[in-house]
Symmetry: C2
Subunit: 394 residues, 2 copies
């Protein structure tokens, strides 16, 4: 249930407003002043941009990990205080990595509607997050284009779907050979053929780790069994995902690849709003939509993620942490592109799982995995010393 | 509202049970004996098949234009008596041409749910039919794959769509030159690349007249303005149609081209039923979905139909009648493939429209057009005598 006050204007907190999704969320809010109002912004290190955003939107609350020298009347509060604040109706969680975990929990426990752009929240702590949402009758809405597509396709359907097809552009290297993949540079990997995204997500798209995280996210968002979720390579990223029903009928959601559309849908739901700034598909320019099966062998991150999701417990948190470390190592030229999967795999192999973990156990697994993964490099793959594993010590 | 009695089993009258759609409707009903029961069948000239169907389904009522010599306890009633009978919950209108008009009206006036496969009913008398449905709170459900697709895509959406994309396979001759089109034989035209359909519909698909009739049908079924309905050539017929919303998001319905799916959806709505006999899309075999703009010049029937729909009144009935005559002439080798459009155009040009016609005026326009069109051939295009036009004489 979305609670609107202020004469129907939705009061929004944008957590992670200086990131790629945060900026696009502000674009949508800026274009719809009659429906949406920013009441809180939080940023991380890009203080200059946060200052400009604060100057423009004059939020009543703000936060930055680097406390900014701003005095304009707005309150400096923690992200958790903001997410659960009575003056907030709707929380957009667009923070990086695990930063969104506690604010999301705080928002849900306060009964807020949460629009999730941060995959890690549900991947790391899907069981806790969905339980708290249900307990407090708070709604979690997807912002990822694939999950938004599934959500849109499920509207008005009484029957549970039979299969889900998450589409994947395949990233820039889908047709590279194994040896070509080894040579990929960070500069090449940062050029995504379709989507403009942050650096971490762009690399995750190139390894298909991103798609694996989306499978786990879809599992928690919609209670789909893992076996009903399939991946379909679709280079044009026009079909954002599909749902197959028990009678064999499929629904797909399509649109020009632009994150502002799923962001706006989450904000307008269950309605839709006209926004002249959102692009339209031009069918005179679309001659074909292509599909091919996914190559799990060439892109092992996808399988690693799906297996971690199925195993559950602390595995998904370890997956996220190891991947974050590995991507950072790749971006700083310390490992090769194909080493990313190896680091993630090795870290997962060394982890002892904790089923149904608490938030603290999840964060401990995260910390262990970061340390373990970091020490796998640069002296790569001479077996590192066995490090403390919270799973073993439980 | 669908009224179910007999312990939830829907009692169905299939009008036109020996035609292509009728037979496929019986396939669906046969596969779902717990949900569906045939209580009435009507056929036209294929008496042998009707007898076999009666023997299998033992309907309580039946009708045939050639009164059959059957005695098994079922009542012989007119199609209108059947369509409005208290023991019928759900009427499938799968008759050819204008034969469905009066039974559809009778069913709606009795408050029955009508599933329409016969395009002519809404094309010829859309205004009357939709008014009666609204007056008696009776529901008209589409069975055509395109309209079923649109209907499925509109489920759960509060906003009215911005644009509708009716997809068209383009038929077997879409890439023929003008001179090649002149040489097309009935035998070639009856080989549709995707859909198995009756003879008349197959020829209408090859001329794209069928798509024009669908535009008019979509207009009446969903109250879409004609200007919001676009045609998109999509040779594989996997995407059955698409809807674009005001935010630029599109929904498409996809499925293997098989009429049993839209037939079953109309029967199961608002639920969906599992049916192992319905085919599933195999994405390992679908490498691409192609699209191209429609060529109105090479396929003039489409434009003729859209214009007749926009003009309204008795024009659409004249269009249907002239086309039926012209297709028959083509099938009996008396005119060429490209003459079909010429006959339809000439007949429309000579017709004086009656706005907001009564059913009798529609049927008079139909009779006039049949006679006029028939006399345009075979002594083709020496101007025939001006024939009585009910529009002029009004």
């Amino acid at each position: 249930m979305i609670i609107c006050t202020m004469g129907g204007v939705k009061r929004i907190a944008v957590l992670g407003s200086t990131g790629s999704i945060g900026r696009q969320a502000l674009d949508v809010i800026r274009a719809l002043p009659d429906e949406l109002k920013v009441v809180a912004l939080t940023g991380n290190k890009n203080l200059e941009l946060l200052k400009r955003q604060i100057k423009e939107f004059r939020p009543r609350m703000f936060y930055s990990s680097a406390k900014p020298d701003i005095s304009y009347g707005g309150k400096f509060l923690s992200a958790e205080e903001i997410a659960s604040h009575p003056e907030v109706d709707f929380v957009i969680v667009a923070t990086a990595g695990k930063a969104g975990l506690r604010p999301t929990l705080a928002a849900l426990q306060a009964g807020k509607t949460v629009a999730l752009a941060s995959k890690e929240v549900l991947v790391m702590a899907g069981e806790i997050i969905t339980r708290e949402a249900s307990l407090h009758q708070a709604q979690i809405l997807p912002i990822d284009s694939e999950h938004s597509a599934i959500w849109q396709c499920l509207q008005g359907e009484e029957s549970k779907p039979q299969r889900i097809f998450l589409t994947a552009s395949g990233g820039p290297f889908y047709h590279y050979s194994q040896s070509q993949l080894t040579e990929v540079t960070p500069e090449q990997a940062l050029q995504h053929p379709v989507w403009k995204m942050g650096r971490k997500v762009t690399i995750d798209s190139a390894t298909l780790m991103n798609k694996g995280l989306e499978v786990i996210e879809a599992h928690w968002l919609f209670s789909f069994p893992f076996d009903s979720i399939e991946i379909l390579i679709h280079p044009q990223s026009i079909i954002h995902s599909m749902v197959e029903f028990i009678d064999g009928s499929l629904k797909a959601q399509l649109g020009w690849p632009d994150m502002r559309l799923p962001i706006q849908y989450a904000l307008s739901y269950p309605r839709r709003w006209s926004n002249s700034e959102l692009p339209r598909l031009d069918w005179e320019k679309i001659q074909s939509l292509n599909f091919e099966p996914v190559d799990y062998e060439k892109f092992p991150c996808l399988k690693l993620a799906m297996d971690a999701g199925k195993s559950g417990g602390t595995y998904p948190a370890v997956l996220c942490a190891a991947d974050e470390v590995a991507v950072e190592l790749f971006l700083s030229h310390r490992i090769s592109f194909t080493d990313i999967a190896k680091i993630v795999q090795k870290t997962l192999e060394q982890h002892r799982n904790i089923p149904q973990p608490s938030l603290e156990e999840i964060l401990a697994a995260d910390a262990w995995a970061r340390e373990y993964a970091a020490h796998l490099s640069p002296g790569y793959f001479p077996e590192p010393e066995q490090r403390s594993n919270p799973g073993i010590e439980r």
